[in-house]
């Protein structure tokens, strides 16, 4: 299928590559179908692009690549809707945002993808994890001199 996106123009997606988020995402509840795209410039970066809203896309990364000691515990209730018993069968992604000039990762609410079923869900991990984990070295010059 062909979808329109404000960031990447018109792109072709194989139906098999679509991901279904039955509950949408918090704050984006109306977006249930997504395509996971690789970023052409950064191999560490992906984009979850909504197929229904051309302007909605979330930058995502594999957290362990940026936070090697990231340990995530997810309540069973969060995984039940994905029909998945074991996190080892899942692909884990975290959402990238920008706050005060720094790129941040939401480590508290990772996105879990059941690769085989092509379903996904953003979950709330247990414990004290930041929603704005700041990636170091990201201060803009403006911020530094302020």
């Amino acid at each position: 299928m062909r979808i329109n996106t404000t960031r990447f123009g018109r792109i072709d997606i194989e139906t098999d590559d679509l991901l279904h988020f039955a509950s949408g995402l918090p704050g984006l509840e109306d977006c249930q179908r997504w395509a996971l795209l690789a970023d052409a410039g950064n191999e560490a970066l992906g984009w979850l692009q909504s197929t229904s809203r051309s302007d909605v896309a979330l930058a995502v990364v594999s957290p362990r690549r940026f936070v090697p000691d990231y340990q995530v515990r997810i309540p069973r209730s969060e995984l039940t809707p994905l029909a998945m018993r074991d996190l080892r069968d899942a692909q884990l992604l975290v959402v990238v945002a920008r706050h005060a000039g720094a790129l941040t990762l939401n480590l508290k609410a990772p996105i879990v993808i059941n690769v085989e079923a092509r379903t996904g869900r953003q979950v709330v991990a247990s414990g004290d994890l930041p929603m704005r984990y700041e990636l170091v070295g990201q201060r803009s010059p403006l911020k530094k001199s302020a």
């Binding site: 970023d39 940026f66 508290k108 979950v123």
Partner: protein, 90 residues
């Protein structure tokens, strides 16, 4: 909103399968015990609302704003090694 008065160790039921029990009351703090089926996630409201705000903000991020992320990445898995690579950011 339905408002009910409860004392310590008393409960309310929501539907057939969710039981909320007043475990302890101290000053202005109430401790609740929640028994719910495994498939019902339970969250503090402020946490869920914060995630909503973070997602809405993140969904406005432009590709240009992520450029330095490559320099920060260690070795490891990529978000998608599939064939869509040519499609993002032409």
């Amino acid at each position: 909103m339905l408002v009910l008065s409860r004392q310590r160790d008393e409960s309310i039921m929501i539907g057939d399968s969710i039981v909320v029990t007043i475990v302890d009351i101290r000053g202005d703090k109430v401790r609740l015990g929640i028994n719910a089926p495994a498939e019902v996630p339970v969250h503090r409201q402020e946490v869920y609302e914060a995630i909503q705000r973070e997602n809405v903000r993140a969904s406005r991020l432009a590709p240009d704003e992520t450029q330095e992320i490559g320099k920060l990445a260690g070795r490891g898995p990529v978000p998608n090694s599939g064939k869509a690579g040519e499609s993002a950011r032409g």
